[in-house]
Symmetry: C2
Subunit: 457 residues, 2 copies
Amino acid sequence: MINPRAAALQYSQQNKPVFLSNLKQLLEIPSVSTDPDHIPDMEKAAQWVASELSAMNFSKVTIFPTAKHPVVYGERMDAGPLAPIVLVYGHYDVQPADPLELWKTGPFTPEQRGDNLFARGASDMKGQVVATLSAIHSILAGGPLPVNIKYVVEGEEEIGSPNLGKFLREHKDLLACSFALNPDSGMIGADVPTIVYALRGLAYFELRVTGPSHDLHSGMFGGVVHNPAIVLADLISGMHNADGQITLPGFYDRVRALPEEERTALAALPMDDAYFLKITGAAQLWGESGYTAVERVGARPTLDVNGMLSGFTGDGSKTVIPAWAMAKISMRLVPDQDPVEVHQQLLSYLQQHAPQSVQWDLTVMAGGPACITDIHQPGTQALARGLESVWGKAPLFKREGGSIPVVGDMQTILGIDSVLTGFGLPDDNLHSPNEKLHLPTWYKGIDALIHFFYNLV
Amino acid sequence: MINPRAAALQYSQQNKPVFLSNLKQLLEIPSVSTDPDHIPDMEKAAQWVASELSAMNFSKVTIFPTAKHPVVYGERMDAGPLAPIVLVYGHYDVQPADPLELWKTGPFTPEQRGDNLFARGASDMKGQVVATLSAIHSILAGGPLPVNIKYVVEGEEEIGSPNLGKFLREHKDLLACSFALNPDSGMIGADVPTIVYALRGLAYFELRVTGPSHDLHSGMFGGVVHNPAIVLADLISGMHNADGQITLPGFYDRVRALPEEERTALAALPMDDAYFLKITGAAQLWGESGYTAVERVGARPTLDVNGMLSGFTGDGSKTVIPAWAMAKISMRLVPDQDPVEVHQQLLSYLQQHAPQSVQWDLTVMAGGPACITDIHQPGTQALARGLESVWGKAPLFKREGGSIPVVGDMQTILGIDSVLTGFGLPDDNLHSPNEKLHLPTWYKGIDALIHFFYNLV
């Protein structure tokens, strides 16, 4: 009789079509958390995850309602009180699919082309959720679970997890665990297994500038009122200086300096300018002077306009002075910036720079702090060995530019670190049309997760 | 037997409901020239005008096709070779009605509330077209026309009259005349009859800035690519300096200085800051320093953003770096600026200031020069006396901030001046939701036009 680990790996090898078919089921549910039209799909996706857990004999399987989208929970505690408890995190929600016309095939009709599976959420992160489910399923096929598992899947990650903090606080005892596994980050390349040890935070705002009480004829009134679209442009333009630094008062006060040692380690990552130029398709790179690209996305805060709207935007021409202009503006934060303080800094900037000729209104849309995790914790080391078993090389440790508010929330509320990994690739078009998942990497990821669970004991 | 003028005025007094009903018919046709979906409505509106001319026994009534929307023509030359020929101009097209949700009643279902008739085009300028038709109709009811009339109504004024120049050149002999009457401007107030002697020109562009090849995740790539919405904001912001002057190289080189005498006359107009604040609903006025509001809208060039679009603009939040950003940017020009030169100035500005990190593309949407007409010409004086007969006071002469490209075209191509008036009011919400026409003023305008035609001989 082969040992349980080998049996699980053999099961995983033989059941790839089953895992893929499961993933396609979940991808077909358009669970777009930001869009109220998709509330029934959110319920459906939550139900799908709960059914998977029940099918694997998880106990306490519950769909917890929140103020917006439900959290799915289930646990298998049969490894006994001496075995570690791993909280496996995931999110079943996805970003909106627009602009739809740029998708080659429907965002919610998953299609395999070559080695890739195309669909919204294939990589971020339904693929990763189904990877953890598949790894657990494989282990259970070969024998008992070596560790206890608490499985938590939320439906609000893509809108900043507004209700997860409350859920974590209210269910602190239920969620008590050794550490969390969060596979919502990704790999540097298909041959480069990666563990993320730092994440940026997020502060996301909507700024609306209002000028005249209604759209005006630009001939009759051009020259007497301040155009709100121009005022918005002035305000946005002033948020960076010529060196690409952000000008909000006090913005850099709490930014933790990057140690020389870490700069050296980051410089060794295979992510040079050519790499970023290829992935982004930009004519030239751009950013804060004095830092390399990999430092800028991982260890430095940034400010971006995510959307902008004013006046007449159809075909043709309309000679109006718009009554208002709107921009969605967000900052990626690094330790030890505080999203609440950043909100105050943005308010101060606007109070100082917005002219009296307009009115403005700032809405907080989402926010969460940055975080850094300890790479020496046993969970991280167990994953590192698991990745090495499958890829034949040690993983790289990197800082990730994205934000996963739940990691900070779990650190603050549950007092636990998160082990961050994932089997998506940089060209997966996350949040963009034609999102995809590289299936050979995904299958390897499932095996690495099997190793990870066994390596913990 | 009463004299023909008195008969015409009497007919006009008795037929107000007929005039109003005619106007409503025309307003019900949604002849939005910029929207290809409305091409059948453009034909319908042209046909409506042609039928009116035919019903008044105009000869040579023709709907001339152009590259886009047709021009309607008809003439009555029965006043003989010694009488002046007045070319009466109009346009049957209107601006788009959006944002539709801000209209109290449908833009194309005219509704009278109190003294006002609400509908898109009620003031600009279907009401003015029906005013000239009603005046001619009233005169014909009382006797022969005192002058010869050539009636020209185009369908492209709201998109910058792109094909009218060609039409004027091709039909120069047909259109030969003494001067033009153009009622496409308006009055300062219901008690202030007004003749416009100067118009601003227009140069309208669409600027598109392209950054990465696709929308990017703002976490993974925030800090390495130049955000096209921010670049667009920088470019727009740089187009004015702190004094509200436009920074395009050479922009003011050809701007004709305002004579002291004219500044004094403009200062006497009842259009102070309080007037503009009330009409626009702005918190404060704004504009080029060193000039009064009435000077800034009439005699100084301006630059406005008419629309702006980038990235995610729906409800909620989406953390993308947009692949592109677009703005509709237009300038109002004064004598002796040239729209073609302004295009070059904008290109120079963009070449100097757009960073290498993005690509950009500039499209010319519309353009026409400013113009000034001679207030001592007989046509203007005939109208001045007509307005005085009805309102009991001499009209004010003002510069108008809007653009009527046809006035410049007629000056250049046909060699004629235009007499500019109209019976719309500043709070008519031109180009805005809830456009309306003040009916008591409109009925008086019809009478003033009757006087005008008789005053010419």
